[in-house]
């Protein structure tokens, strides 16, 4: 039996979440599909490869600038499928509602689910509703699962980064987490930053149309860009070098980070992806991304190298170097 208690930090998507999965979940549930620990599992069938994923949403507050728990629950799962290169087929949604929850709010959330599903071009095909006593949940929690089909010739995984790959990201980082943080009003900070919450399957389709040989796609959600790059460097046993100057952070986001001592590289995003692309295809993919509404602000931020496998090196704005390590401990709870 393991000792100790679950802390909020175990849910932050950083090193502790990682350890919890490795130490407690995998010993019971491990199999060759689960152990990849990618955003979606890829299940081979006779005719095609199915991508399958699931995620729970506990964001607080339920409504925030740029989205709400409903939109998030569709985008998050669509994005997990998209990061496997899969075309989403259908999504299921499960609701855990707290006794006393307002029907009006539920209606708003459902309408937002409908809108997000239309945007992503995916159907909600199954669902479930449970109600728990007052106090046993805070408002509502949503769990969504999704299946999709991986097109032939596409083989994307966090372990497929190769030396020489270019690293591309589709815009400024940190908007979602800072947006949520400001919406909670806990820091008596004024201002509004919109969450970047968006379905990325359209952008992924554009990327795959430009080049099917994409090595890695990942959405830097909890744990942020630093954690995702670190995970990729580790799974692929390669080094990654990124340039701070190239990675954009909105001035407002940077301002809040400076005030609260947060590092933007660890902030969650809900509408961003990093693509690891073979060098010779990089320009074509980059152009295709720029042409997509969700990829207009794309930038090539770094490269994969042979040296320092498992490490992510950041070239700082003043020309120095430092390591990007995965998020340790809790940056901020219940952001998605």
């Amino acid at each position: 039996m393991k000792e100790g208690k679950i802390l909020l930090a175990h849910g932050a998507g950083g090193k502790l979440s990682h350890d919890l999965i490795k130490e407690l979940f995998l010993p019971f549930l491990e199999n060759e599909l689960l152990s990849c620990l990618d955003d979606s599992a890829i299940i081979p069938t006779e005719r095609s490869r199915l991508a399958f994923t699931t995620d729970s949403y506990v964001v607080k507050p339920l409504f925030f600038p740029g989205g709400d728990i409903g939109r998030l629950s569709i985008c998050g799962t669509v994005n997990d499928l998209a990061m496997a290169g899969a075309r989403p087929l259908g999504i299921s949604t499960s609701f855990i509602l707290e006794e006393g929850f307002s029907k009006e709010d539920l209606e708003r959330i459902l309408s937002s689910i409908k809108k997000a599903a239309l945007e992503a071009g995916v159907m909600v095909v199954a669902g479930d509703t449970k109600v728990v006593e007052h106090g046993a949940a805070e408002g509502l929690f949503i769990t969504t699962s999704g299946v999709g089909i991986v097109p032939e010739g596409v083989d994307i995984s966090g372990s497929h980064a190769m030396p020489g790959d270019f690293v591309i990201i589709n815009g400024p980082i940190g908007d979602h987490e800072i947006g949520i943080l400001l919406a909670r009003g806990e820091f008596s900070l004024k201002g509004e930053i919109k969450s970047d919450c968006a379905p990325l399957n359209g952008l992924v389709k554009a990327i795959l149309n430009a080049c099917t040989d994409i090595h890695v796609l990942r959405d830097p959600t909890r744990g942020g860009l630093a954690t995702v790059l670190w995970e990729i460097a580790n799974s692929s046993k390669v080094g990654v070098i990124v340039e701070e100057e190239k990675i954009t952070v909105r001035e407002e986001v940077r301002g809040v980070c400076d005030l609260l001592g947060f590092d933007p590289f660890y902030l969650a995003n809900e509408g961003k992806l990093v693509a690891f692309v073979p060098q010779k295809e990089a320009e074509k993919v980059f152009e295709a991304m720029k042409a997509d509404p969700l990829g207009r602000d794309s930038v090539i931020v770094g490269r994969v190298v042979d040296e320092n496998p498992g490490k992510v090196l950041l070239k700082t704005r003043i020309g120095g170097h430092r390591l990007l390590e995965p998020l340790s401990g809790e940056q901020f709870p219940r952001i998605c």
């Binding site: 802390l7 400024p172 100057e245 001035e251 609260l260 001592g261 704005r317 120095g320 390590e325 340790s328």
Partner: protein, 362 residues
């Protein structure tokens, strides 16, 4: 996104670095007193850019790190009282006490909340009148004026369920304590920017007059720190030992008189224990007589007990600049940010956490 400014930064940095290389001559050691500087130095990769002979060592300027185990234990004991809500700043949550941490206590159901501004304590006390709200206030001169303002406001509003467990400390006495035994070789100080916004330049003058050492009050951007190092090297070359201000856009000679007055009205200096440095005279702040009814250390019958640092942990030596994090046998082995043994691995401003998080390239 302000690209021109950021590109300039790289150019300016390389110019200052060239100057620094020109001035560097033999071994020289500067201490950055403040944890915010430590983090900024690591984040911007300054260590990887400085010439070989220039060594930067981290000092005792991380409020969470210098809070002794006994004070953490006392806060935990207070949080265990059924009618008490304990308020604190985030970094303290994971600091290990003798057998638990505030984080672990919260997971067991104790009412422990993280606040970001001392004024939040007033709102909570007003809303939850049936509970006794204890604010475990850790910090340096930077936070003390806001804490003083909250205390004054609580008294004015006659809030009688808010108490202060003061663990506030003052920077200049700690620098003096560090220098007096001369255990550690320091050639000059990168002095804290935020603390100096409040206290100004004068409280540091003993560094130059009594110890013939130099200091530069420095801002927190990478370029500020490079300029601060450059100014220290200039003093060395010209044989001066003075306290200069690099961070002139925020620090005034006389500090912030309004803030100092608020602090003075509410608090008086008192001897305080620092992890690593031990008891230092007049280095802490306690509530003045007229605010004593808010003093948690008097109101609650939970006395302070001196506790030993965790076995094997060398945070005390690190805080004095005597050791560097990788010298610690526990560093990144038994002591990690996920399972910290000592406070320097916990605080976002702790030097062990910075070493671990950003990696040391030199």
């Amino acid at each position: 996104m302000n690209k021109s400014k950021r590109i300039d930064e790289g150019n300016i940095a390389s110019i200052i670095l060239r100057e620094i290389s020109g001035l560097a001559d033999g071994q020289i050691r500067f201490m950055e007193v403040c944890g915010t500087h430590t983090v900024s130095i690591f984040r911007s990769g300054i260590r990887s850019l400085l010439p070989e002979g220039i060594e930067l060592i981290s000092g005792p300027g991380c409020p969470v790190c210098v809070t002794p185990v006994g004070e953490i234990d006392r806060a935990i004991a207070l949080a265990q009282l059924k009618d008490v809500t304990l308020l604190t700043f985030g970094d303290l949550m994971s600091v290990p006490g003798t057998s638990s941490s505030l984080n672990q206590e919260r997971a067991m159901g104790r009412d422990i909340r993280v606040i970001t501004s001392p004024l939040d304590s007033l709102e909570i006390a007003l809303k939850e009148k049936k509970r006794r709200i204890v604010f475990f206030a850790v910090g340096f001169e930077t936070t003390s004026p806001a804490i003083a303002a909250a205390v004054k406001e609580a008294k004015r509003k006659r809030i009688d369920n808010l108490f202060l467990l003061s663990s506030q400390r003052l920077i200049p006495p700690a620098i003096r304590a560090l220098l007096s035994p001369r255990k550690v070789k320091i050639d000059g100080f990168i002095l804290p920017g935020h603390v100096s916004v409040i206290i100004g330049r004068t409280p540091y003058s003993f560094i130059a007059s009594e110890f013939s050492l130099m200091g530069v009050i420095t801002g927190f951007e990478a370029l500020d720190i490079l300029k601060g190092i450059y100014m220290l090297l200039c003093q060395k070359k010209e044989g001066r030992s003075e306290i200069e201000i690099q961070y002139t856009r925020a620090v005034k000679e006389e500090g912030n008189q309004l803030a100092l007055k608020a602090m003075e009205e509410v608090f008086e200096p008192v001897g305080a224990r620092w992890r690593g440095l031990g008891m230092i005279l007049e280095s802490g702040l306690t509530l003045r007589e007229e605010f004593k009814e808010m003093d948690a250390s008097l109101v609650f019958d939970i006395p302070y007990e001196d506790k030993k640092d965790p076995p094997g942990c060398i945070c005390g030596k690190i805080l004095q600049g005597l050791k560097s994090p990788p010298d610690c046998p526990l560093f990144d082995k038994r002591c990690t940010p996920e399972n910290p043994v000592g406070p320097c691995m916990v605080s976002s401003e702790g030097s062990c956490a910075a070493f671990r998080k950003y990696g040391a390239f030199r």
